[in-house]
Symmetry: C2
């Protein structure tokens, strides 16, 4: 059984703080190994990539085999069923439709002083997407990264994916093709991240790298950050469900388990205003765990990090939710929309009984790459903004410079930055002549 808390208990604050502070991930320190791999790829390029791929993926390659050819992709995706293809196509369409609406507007205006001010958005020129190999090689993850990049206008989008023993998931290749990926390379690990950041003879460098990966990939992304942009380093997945008694305990149990089955470090929490309902859900989880394929993963996750919290009312639920700042938040209460106005720190909110979180993992439209480990307090999920940057624009007329230049000169002097002041003064002197 997971921890069962009652917000009215005297020791609740302490127990809740312990729950919040639980360290669920124990990443091995692979930084030194990763530093060596990156240095090797920077120095020897393709030769290092080939050697490391032979070593880690047991896959001997020549330089011209690093890239997966169009013919290979064509052949592989023939294995995809009609049903799976249709599902991926619907997902691409819906994710694209959502992300198109995120595109920000350029702006330019003239203010009272006569200054023209504004900004302009532009896409990152080239982006790289890391796709894990093996069990965690999820086509949905390809879509969630690649579609926003292409909607943003990224011209060149390269995927790297390890293919241990030459194995590749055809759905990953189809997802890449459907979302407009330009290049796919059969390399992975820190060496693939290094290749994207610094380039090799075969792989041109990119400006931004996104996508999930293991501890080596995460360490490599941290190391190349600055040389290129990276997305967040995601921690184990989490869900918080706030549900009242008018829900089917089995539905809520399945929603909790759909996080728990990701990873033994995942965390599923239920907050309810009805203790008996909470117990019913816990029972339903145990029942489902008897038969679930991945109960060896979901079981430990639920027992070690799961929690049921009983609250006196939904206002307390909202307060606790904001302290948890969950990655995924499901609101299964009579007035979910009203409650959502109060739960402001969350990556994604799923409203009402017919919106299981799994819909958002695949096909709802919003992105499934979301802030974990309480970082929804200060960060957002992946979006087109991650593939765009803003350039600010300013243009002074002589009148505008006359109006505001002297104040800038005053401030420059106060900061002892003489040339700053002189660059304004020289122009004002000419204008005042």
């Amino acid at each position: 059984m997971p921890v069962f808390l009652n917000a009215s208990d005297a020791d609740f604050d302490q127990a809740f703080a312990t729950l919040l502070g639980a360290k669920r991930e124990d990443s091995p320190d692979v930084d030194a190994v990763v530093a060596d791999i990156i240095a090797d790829v920077r120095t020897r390029g393709d030769a290092a990539l080939i050697e490391l791929t032979a070593k880690f993926d047991r896959l001997p390659l020549t330089a011209d085999q690093l890239r997966i050819s169009d013919a290979e992709i064509d052949a592989a995706i023939e294995d995809v069923s009609v049903e799976e293809r249709a599902a991926l196509e619907l997902a691409v369409e819906r994710i694209r439709a959502y992300h198109v609406r995120q595109m920000p507007q350029n702006a330019e205006w003239q203010d009272d002083a006569g200054a023209s001010l504004g900004w302009r958005w532009s896409a990152v020129s080239a982006a790289g997407l890391y796709v894990p190999g093996g069990l965690a090689s999820y086509p949905s993850s390809v879509l969630m990264n690649a579609v926003p990049a292409k909607v943003a206008g990224v011209e060149r989008l390269a995927v790297v994916v390890p293919t241990p023993d030459g194995q590749i998931n055809p759905l990953v290749l189809l997802a890449a093709r459907l979302s407009g990926v330009d290049e796919i390379y059969r390399v992975g690990g820190a060496q693939a991240v290094a290749a994207l950041a610094y380039g090799t003879e075969t792989i041109a460098p990119v400006d931004k790298i996104t996508g999930p990966g293991n501890a080596f990939v995460a360490a490599a992304k941290r190391r190349v950050f600055g040389k290129v942009g990276i997305d967040m380093i995601a921690g184990p997945s989490e869900i918080l469900v706030i549900a009242d008694k008018d829900n089917d305990p089995d539905w809520i149990a399945l929603d909790l388990l759909s996080q728990a089955e990701h990873d033994e470090s995942a965390q599923s929490i239920l907050i309810t205003d009805d203790e008996a309902f909470g117990r019913s859900v816990a029972d339903a989880v145990e029942a489902r765990l008897q038969t679930l394929d991945r109960s060896a993963i979901a079981g430990p996750s639920w027992r070690d990090y799961g929690a049921v919290i009983v609250v006196p009312d939904l206002d307390v639920a909202a307060q606790l939710s904001n302290r948890i700042a969950p990655e995924h938040l499901e609101l299964c209460v009579a007035d979910a929309r009203a409650l959502s106005e109060k739960t402001i720190h969350a990556g994604a909110i799923f409203l009402g009984p017919y919106t299981p979180e799994a819909i958002g993992d695949y096909i709802g439209g919003p992105n499934h790459v979301l802030p974990t480990a309480r970082s929804a307090r200060f960060s957002s999920g992946l979006s087109v903004m991650d593939f765009l940057k803003r350039t600010t624009l300013s243009e002074m007329t002589p009148e505008a410079l006359r109006a505001i230049g002297p104040a800038a000169e005053t401030l420059a002097k106060s900061e002892s930055l003489e040339a700053h002041g002189l660059s304004i003064r020289a122009r004002l002197d000419r204008l005042n002549r």
Copy 2:
């Protein structure tokens, strides 16, 4: 003399690559010291802050002196001249007016399947702003960080600023007050960053930390990243000026020097389509260096990292500019606006002869915290977005779940995530009963 390159020369590509690759900063490795300081503040709170402040700032304090009181602020800002106060007030007003326009909109819509989708923006609850002490204690920097935070809606904004030997710049206090800062603490260094991230008895923890600082502060920000959000770690400042011959060489020289005077590691580059003009600007820089207060800083910066590049035409200038991806880009050419459409990788663009970059440092309106070291290829300057986060919203109706649920179930199965699929199937089965 700085390096003088001609884009038509045979060895230009090599020389340009060398210029781009020049390592201008050699940060000391202070990570171990910083780790100890952070651990100390986490463990001992105020006691550690007080001890470290006595040691590094030679300032003995009691816990209730950590915060600068309103009365102390009132007294200090009486020393600010009327002219300086008016300049700061104008700057606040203009920076606020610009950043108010950046506020993004919430969205919600219903799609063809009947799903309600959207997103909602909300402010970070609490933010901390690091302000350096001593020479680099710039009031303009307070405004550029604090105004966007308050425009975004940050409820609690805390400033930390070291006051070595008790010295504080009254303009910094006035800038903080004018921009709505809620709390000011007289602590600095890694210990101040640790206090903001983890909290002490006196300083409540924040969710996001921004602001410039020395190598210790930068290392501390890197270390607390994840626990809290941070802004970018800024490198030395840079300017690229693209100017044709119809400019006053002295104005351009002063613009180049207004970056060079910041730091010996700053970089100022001129690209021009007229070699004689380039030589005139270089001469004008030398002439100004004879008398400039900070020539001991600006001189080495210009000689070591400055460059004049002659190009055959402005299209080549735009291409080189995109490879440099400058923090500041001044376009002093006949049709600056047309050229700006081609220079897409830049933090801030200043158009025309009456827009010296120094205007943007203080009073133009756009933010002066901008991406350095070529990171304008993938990142943007500070904005209200740095103090906001987006929560995505999804709500399925029974009809919407019937329409798109099966595709999600198919994809869940293809990823072997059974509970994901079951959470949808259980609902569909009920609906289909």
